[in-house]
Amino acid sequence: MTAPRAGRGGIVTAIIAKDVAAFARDRFWVFMTLLALVWFVGMYVFMPETVDESLRVGVHWTESDAAFDAALGAAFGAAAGLDVVRYPSRQALEEALGMGATQPPERLTMGLDFPDDFLVRVHLTLPTSVRLYVDPEVPDDVRPALAAMVRESAYALTGHGLPVSLPNAETVVLGEDRLGRHVPLRDKLRPLYAFMMLVVETYALGALIAAEVSSRTVRAVLATPARIGDFLAAKTVTGTLLAFTEASLLMVLVRGFGHEPLLVAAALLLGAVLVTGVALTVGAAGRDFIGTIFASLVFLIPLSIPALAVLFPGTASPWVQVLPTHGLVQIIVGATTGPMAAREAAPHLASLAAWCAVALAMGLLTLRRRVAQL
């Protein structure tokens, strides 16, 4: 009898359809996927869409002098986003700073206390001192800026100008000047949202593969005309398809495609291939659900670092740039904050593609070896 023969495409399609159906009816992973979608979209929607760039500074001075008021106004009013609040006494200022017996409803983080004889001593060119209150969470570079403003007001009172001027026309802003429209935290979180969505699918595919290996259903598949190559191809397509679809859906919901939808889509596709490679490896290594989770963490913790580094600019070491997900994060950040030139994106895409090839090759070899050992 001549048996019907399935083509390679038919076999791969049959395995993909089976895996997608298995994923769709796995209540745990469907719940986790939906939870991740709702959670990240919820975070995006409920976080403020603008950045409050103003700094409130509490100031106490007792002397009422038009020139002093004008000098202070000139010194502090010139600083964009600085909101000066005057307090009638040092005690009132300190209470507003949270140093009193009761905590104020809205605590100040910075304060200036001018001594009572400040004007007299300045006019007499005698040394005087102004107390500066600074909360530990105030960035270091703000403190000297405040001190400079105090000095500037003193210069203004004595009729002297500052020896150096910095005309706005000569201020050079590196990159795009985002003064007044800084990137809100919810937008900075987009790369992390995308990465975490991909992570959920890494776990799901890893668990699916681990189940197939541990129950040895793969042996039954390979006793048919299906080859190990068909099996591996189907797992790769299934993983990439699921991860890309869900990460793309999330990016649509959080407006993550920005100015360069094709670029972000390409980056997400490569990211999906990358995590699929990881899933193949952890699926081959994991004996059960817990084993898969632990094996995943070995890869996913370092891979999450570039996305976290976006939240804390300047804190990441240079080696973060060699991590596989650095390119993915840079493209999402670049494309969502403004137009991204192809020349700028190319190195990131190339790096991501190279890491994809490495991760996928490692995953395919590991799973192939594991299946051969069954």
């Binding site: 089976k18 040895r216 039954a220 005309p225």
Partner: protein, 288 residues
């Protein structure tokens, strides 16, 4: 029977797991419609032999031919025409019985597969839409058999197909094996159950420590290695006298005639060695 006539041919197959030799020069042939029982204790190499013959392992030495295909090179043409029942219950538990069968039918390239009929054949018609995780052990085993028959195979490999089953399920599976053999399918059956092997197999092979210790029909093995006798019980005075008459003895016929005609005859039982007795005799060890 040469290997052109045989559906399944093992030619001097050898295989090792590291330093442990699993198969050492194993040879046998199975004709279309024949059931060969491969008998042996755990670790004898039965499952390894099946894995090599189904193309999942490559023999280190020798040759495995199935339906004219050398399984070490391109097993796909043969794999399209074989069915395998694995020792482990490797079914997709989250899928229903019907879905399991349909998935495997797609791997064989079969269109319009009638899953309900296939399930009906193994007595699972009313459970086809239940997920396999809800199946009993016997139901899973019957589904495994149904899966192995999805492509109407010309060669069937059954690794302990009735192991641990209740008598009703085991009997149902034996009937299917007999029906497949009657259809012309070559069947390689591994089992611990000597009675089952005796009942189903035209020939049996004793596999011990990776080697074939004996290969013949059950009858020939019994004749060659077993002692045939008749046990006669006769009432005598207040008791019962029991006598064993060896049938190989020159005057066995005369002695049996006298026993039958004797007054007070209670029972006459023919006795022959079981395959298990012969296995112990040939290999010097039991099947456990």
């Amino acid at each position: 029977m040469d290997h052109h006539q045989a559906a399944i041919t093992a030619e001097d197959i050898g295989f090792s797991y590291g330093r442990r030799r699993a198969l050492d020069g194993v040879s046998f042939r199975i004709a279309p419609g024949e059931v060969l029982g491969l008998l042996g204790p755990n670790g004898a190499g039965k499952s390894t032999a099946i894995r090599i013959l189904t193309g999942q392992l490559r023999a280190r030495t020798g040759r495995a031919l199935v339906l004219g295909t050398d399984m070490a090179h391109d097993p796909a043409p043969a794999q399209a025409r074989i069915g395998v029942v694995f020792e482990e219950k490797n079914l997709y538990e989250a899928m229903t019985g019907e879905e399991n069968l349909r998935f495997f039918a797609r791997l064989f390239g079969i269109r319009g597969f009638d899953a309900a009929a296939a399930l009906d054949r193994v007595g699972l018609a009313d459970r086809g839409r239940d997920r396999v995780k809800a199946y009993s052990k016997g139901m899973r085993q019957r589904l495994m058999v149904a899966r192995a028959l999805v492509n109407n195979p010309d060669a069937l490999f059954l690794d302990e197909p009735t192991d641990g089953l209740d008598p009703v399920s085991a009997q149902a599976i034996r009937r299917i094996i007999q029906a497949e053999a009657a259809r012309g399918t070559a069947v390689l059956l591994t089992t611990h159950d000597m009675h089952e092997a005796d009942q189903l197999s035209q020939r049996v092979a004793f596999l011990n420590e990776g080697r074939i210790a004996a290969l013949d029909t059950p009858e020939a093995l019994k004749l060659r290695h077993g002692q045939r006798s008749v046990r006669v019980r006769v009432r005598e005075n207040d008791g019962v006298r029991e006598t064993a008459l060896a049938l190989g003895h020159p005057d066995a016929g005369e002695r049996l005639k006298r026993a039958v005609e004797a007054e007070g005859l209670l029972t006459i039982h023919t006795e022959e060695a079981t395959l298990e007795d012969i296995f112990v005799l040939v290999t010097g060890r039991g099947l456990d």
